[in-house]
Symmetry: D2
Subunit: 466 residues, 4 copies
Amino acid sequence: MTLWGGRFSGSTDERMKRFNDSFSFDWRLYAVDIQGSGAYASALQRAGLLTEDEQQAIHAGLEQILSEFAEDRFAAHPTDEDIHTAIERRLTELIGPAAGKLHTGRSRNDQVAVDLCLWLLESIQRTHDHLAELQAALIDQAETHISLIMPGYTHLQPAQPVLFSHWIMSYFWMFQRDQARLHDCARRASVCPLGSGALAGNPFPIDREALAADLGMSAVTPNSIDAVSNRDHIVEFLFCAALIGTHLSRLAEDLILFSSPGYRFLQLDEAYTTGSSLMPQKRNPDSLELTRGKSGRLIGNLVGLLTVLKGLPSTYNKDLQEDKDPLFDAVDTLNMTLPVVTGVIETMLPNGEAMNAALDTSLLATDIADYLVEHGVPFRDAHHVVGRLVMQAEQKQVPLASLSLGDFQAESPVFASDVEDSFSFERAISRKNVPGGTATEAVNHQITSAKERLADHQGSARSSSE
Amino acid sequence: MTLWGGRFSGSTDERMKRFNDSFSFDWRLYAVDIQGSGAYASALQRAGLLTEDEQQAIHAGLEQILSEFAEDRFAAHPTDEDIHTAIERRLTELIGPAAGKLHTGRSRNDQVAVDLCLWLLESIQRTHDHLAELQAALIDQAETHISLIMPGYTHLQPAQPVLFSHWIMSYFWMFQRDQARLHDCARRASVCPLGSGALAGNPFPIDREALAADLGMSAVTPNSIDAVSNRDHIVEFLFCAALIGTHLSRLAEDLILFSSPGYRFLQLDEAYTTGSSLMPQKRNPDSLELTRGKSGRLIGNLVGLLTVLKGLPSTYNKDLQEDKDPLFDAVDTLNMTLPVVTGVIETMLPNGEAMNAALDTSLLATDIADYLVEHGVPFRDAHHVVGRLVMQAEQKQVPLASLSLGDFQAESPVFASDVEDSFSFERAISRKNVPGGTATEAVNHQITSAKERLADHQGSARSSSE
Amino acid sequence: MTLWGGRFSGSTDERMKRFNDSFSFDWRLYAVDIQGSGAYASALQRAGLLTEDEQQAIHAGLEQILSEFAEDRFAAHPTDEDIHTAIERRLTELIGPAAGKLHTGRSRNDQVAVDLCLWLLESIQRTHDHLAELQAALIDQAETHISLIMPGYTHLQPAQPVLFSHWIMSYFWMFQRDQARLHDCARRASVCPLGSGALAGNPFPIDREALAADLGMSAVTPNSIDAVSNRDHIVEFLFCAALIGTHLSRLAEDLILFSSPGYRFLQLDEAYTTGSSLMPQKRNPDSLELTRGKSGRLIGNLVGLLTVLKGLPSTYNKDLQEDKDPLFDAVDTLNMTLPVVTGVIETMLPNGEAMNAALDTSLLATDIADYLVEHGVPFRDAHHVVGRLVMQAEQKQVPLASLSLGDFQAESPVFASDVEDSFSFERAISRKNVPGGTATEAVNHQITSAKERLADHQGSARSSSE
Amino acid sequence: MTLWGGRFSGSTDERMKRFNDSFSFDWRLYAVDIQGSGAYASALQRAGLLTEDEQQAIHAGLEQILSEFAEDRFAAHPTDEDIHTAIERRLTELIGPAAGKLHTGRSRNDQVAVDLCLWLLESIQRTHDHLAELQAALIDQAETHISLIMPGYTHLQPAQPVLFSHWIMSYFWMFQRDQARLHDCARRASVCPLGSGALAGNPFPIDREALAADLGMSAVTPNSIDAVSNRDHIVEFLFCAALIGTHLSRLAEDLILFSSPGYRFLQLDEAYTTGSSLMPQKRNPDSLELTRGKSGRLIGNLVGLLTVLKGLPSTYNKDLQEDKDPLFDAVDTLNMTLPVVTGVIETMLPNGEAMNAALDTSLLATDIADYLVEHGVPFRDAHHVVGRLVMQAEQKQVPLASLSLGDFQAESPVFASDVEDSFSFERAISRKNVPGGTATEAVNHQITSAKERLADHQGSARSSSE
């Protein structure tokens, strides 16, 4: 028995049925579907459309179905075209005709809409938590190795010395912005569409605000036509996930590079590497390569749903069923990837020696230019002076610091013997003491501020979806 | 003369120069680049790195360059590889060596980063305004035709009667969510990266908070490595643009359909249609088809930048220059499309007669089921009863309302003669009187609320970027 | 026991293992993996690296494993990280140490590469077949209703009369191009990478050409570094799938529109529609809406893999494991969607009456202009004359054909009474008798040619992958 | 004067006009539009619809317009909504009313369709040529440095020694597949849509085959409805471009890595690097980073057009105007990027010393395992033996080759003193002498074959579009 058979004389094509049915994947919504139905039963009772007894029977039945799912003993029927049908069918078996009253004024359109909101809010919370654990691991590494100096690169070419802790904290802030975006997304997902019917609104005097409050949501949708086909919050989550994936791919790229033999700044723990079926010596950073690759599917999911929505007429169209697979896949991908990356970060070992070996005095060229600036030379001129010194050192095949004072003065008479003080990596670091700079003091301040944010948003994340 | 020539002995390949140069498109940043440099000069002066005179000379020079651009008489040189180089070169011509001090502690990396933030904030404001005008046009149409009844469709099949005003207001709320997303994006774009240097932070005692305040920005970036390669706010804007484009594509689809000969619910103004080079009778909704098509490029821009960012090592890499074209294109596309759609909405004429002709009593089938519900029949049973009545009417080839009371009672003895009261489109409309429903009262309430939001966010949009 | 444990002292993190393992999805490659291993065993034997006995043992073992999979009784172990490991592990259980010789000179890199080629070739063949069935259904409808006339639309506005059979055949040719693209893709997938080792080539004197021939492939890869990370054929297939999906989405859009109440040119069979949980009268074209929506995931899959490949260093990187999910999903999606669409086409009923009712004489405006052209008026002038006549008819609210001869002559003295012959839909149709035109004769010719192509490519498709 | 004004009473909104007009970008089609019109005029004359004189006047007029464009002195009018209108308007000015006959039986729909085919065919030819130059540069580098040995990497971890020439040739074959795909695309773009009218076919007895032949095209479109909205060849080209972009991004990644200080295997010529505005010592591989970034826009263009096509009703819809920008952008991007990459390859210097320094005997672990295999040990066991040896060497912090024979024999008694012969990078290289392997002989063979292919496809590319 389908929910809609009355006016049909023929039967559904078998391949069509398989094509159309969504129970094979939307069963994952069981808990939120039951939650939504429970709240709706209460709303119907408050509106006088269910007796107290009927309401209690429905709640008891739903409770039992919830256990059946949770304990993996829910028996699906071939006619269960989706999770909503399956639960209604089972409820009818359990409590009889009263089950048929639960759909009063409700359509699968507003039912699935609210289910998705609830499921999304939970998923955002879980993603929040996974991200926070990763952020905590980044802070830990930064604190443990607060003053290791490494070459900073731009364009993958040596640029200026930076603290290892500063580098690793740069990822904290990317994920912090992701947290903020997830939080904003949760706010928009917390608007309750239930009570919108199929498209025109509910004809019975349901108290929608009370219903929303029962479900822990913060507002009700203001237009029923929009409500039943609004998937903005899902696309927005997929965007957040794609951007998280992009950040993870950049982190993975850095870690793969810095643990490669050309750098060796980091050693990955064996637990996160694998070997080769052919080459006995290999230890490959598969965890990070997969992480980098996962950004592809996350972006693909986003594109997929945007394409589904493009040009769709208003209200519900079945195309929207294609929102679930990308959403489920994005959530699963993040749930799987984030803890692995957290594990990688927690267990990796920075190699201070290798970092040190890679520090070349040409990294201090800008500091030499700054020396001239501090002695009154306009920066642009100073830059050219030092550029010529760098070229000279390169031609002589010596480090910049090994040029003689005479060489320096030949390019600019402003140089005096104290220029040699500028050839200190520590000094170069400590000079960058503005907020956000790489000086140890600034990084310590950064870490303190990061810890506060971490504490904050965990609180707020929870409140936003409750 | 380039900014970086000192250490180079050879010269740049000519094709490489064309490939690398960005002046041909990034000249659009001239005003924000000058704004950023002006604020930076003040910061240098406050930090004692420029004299009062030097600062004034720089400000005067920048002012003049601004006029030259604004009046379209800025003379570019072949060596102007980007807008930053061009302005610095011109400033040197105008005020001499003092211009060379402006780059003290500053890199093109933090310079272009802050330019993009400022440009983006302005663009968001403009998009806000264009969206608000479109929203106002939607409200106008809703108010003017508050009680026109049209068939509501789901799956492009007739579902239930709805108010035309309810349908058109459904788009208001999509754009309202877009406004909220833009607002959140602006908040994140309002964090000032200037003072981050190339990647390690500024070595001079610049007051970054004061600098941010001068630029009307609300905070400073907490990590210089992240700051110089953070393009999150740009990707986020591209996402907002893609979703706005998707909403516009759905509106366009509805309008194309409803103005097509199969529906004729709307007549588009000639000013927004065009003819055919071959077929003399044609009047084509080109404006709306192009609008629908523009969603493609907006999604393409988003994908493009996400792909650029994927797997990029941290800090600045030249790949990031590929952020500008998609950003500029997305802003231009919205600036061009939104006013046209606003014009279409403002000038289109709803055709009440055609809507009326399309109202069929099968649209009231749910109301008949509700009649049974109100007489105690569980909805699921009522649904099946009415399903059979619909099938009967179809077989007899008569409207549902033309079945006799006997026919009704044959399916369910609960039917009495007052069932005929349910065959009223007006009554069906007025029953959906929950918040968000299609009852006239509910829609009026919706419009009031929409006007308040419109007034609100225009205020807040302004404040967010100032 | 992993394939690569020797040099590892620690163990793999449990979450990492789940993250890394691919057996949960790549078990689908079992048949092709066994096929590849069988051929490789023969090659080893021919090169003197396996004895005849060892080879026979391996073949027998593989045969048994194939049955175990086919009969769904293959017992997986927790250490089976992928299908290759699982089969090698099982083979060792079955035949002992000889199994360990199968990996001589072979790496999982070239093993998985050849598996994917073989699996892809099979999938292309299946897609070919599904497409051909759909094409046959289109031809059937065209032949059965060869001379039904319907309005042709451009911009969804009435343009010129066309044959229903001409319209439906337009889809035949889209799919015909898809067939050609698949064929080209198969050609490129038929180049055998086995014998490339991990990246450097096989150190043993394997006869790669014979190996390729054993596997029914047409050539061997010319560079081992390229061979192990080449996924071009998979991306190319995903592109073909995305374009097929786009064609299907256009067909679905047409069918949804033409079966909607605004048109009613087609009636979809009940077997491919579903009802509503709320509205008893609904019959929704879910099959077609889902089909339209599936284009999203197909495009998403393509984008996903392109993003994975972007910026990847050469040779094998684990990111490439992300090729399988999008490939499997695309193949499954096509295998599921195409037969449903074929069913929709086979069972739908064109409604000649509704088409006829929608024919308006303004559709013949171009024919009236052509009348003038045939009497020597330049087309551009004729177009303007008829444009004014159309406007006149519109203002008088009469059909174009109802204007008097005087009205016609007032706009152009060239009109004579025989202009009324032009007001014939049949005549308008029959005039378009160039190749590809909508005249019945031309469409019959088109159908004949389509049948030939269909016969042709089925043959060639088979030959390309065998 | 527009082409379609007759039936319009009002005028077009000014913003709408700007939105709708495409002349600002489609003027680039001028030469192919003129080519198409010239051929169409001949066809009309052959069909008796133009006199010999009219035809000659049209050809002369078109010729003159072509010069005006080529010499940059074509004067556009504000009413020129697109290139087709502009040329027809100018032709009328030049030759009077005969110009109005050129549109007989032709619509902008089939006109723009053929223009795009012709423009695409030219662009494919140009891309072919640029790719071939890049391929030639790759071959040159391979030949010049045929026997340099470098570490081969998988997962960015050292794997086995390979020839530098083998590595660089791996890119030859990626581009070779791109050439093949472009060739297939050209075949499909060479089907002439002219003669399809607006959608229904041409009502005049035009000889379409002769017309196609005149335009150098190989066939005529078989269905006019399909022909006017078929953009498959454009999407297919965008796919080819996206995949070329992906290949270029991989090459760029390799070159950026291998020229970075962690590797130094290559030195890029100064002509293809740039400096830093802040850091005097920098030399950044901007050319390659931009190249890597360009893959983003190429993928974005593909996604954009696929999204435009998704769900579009059949025949021409104005959304299709959005095909041009992505096509033009993709062609421009390739035309700009490919020569730069060719320049990078031509001028870069491999650094044999740095490669040599990076060769570690653990790269020969597989060869040691192969030693055991050759002495009868199953490979899987050999792999474990060598894995333990690698671990031992690592623990002792000595190269694998420095373990004593005793150490070797402790793990496997099969080892004898001749195992030391296996510690030769040259020997490891020369053992991979299967087709596609890295042995010098195999690479020489590969280069010979590459040169043949290069010669071949240049011939065939030309023939395909002529």
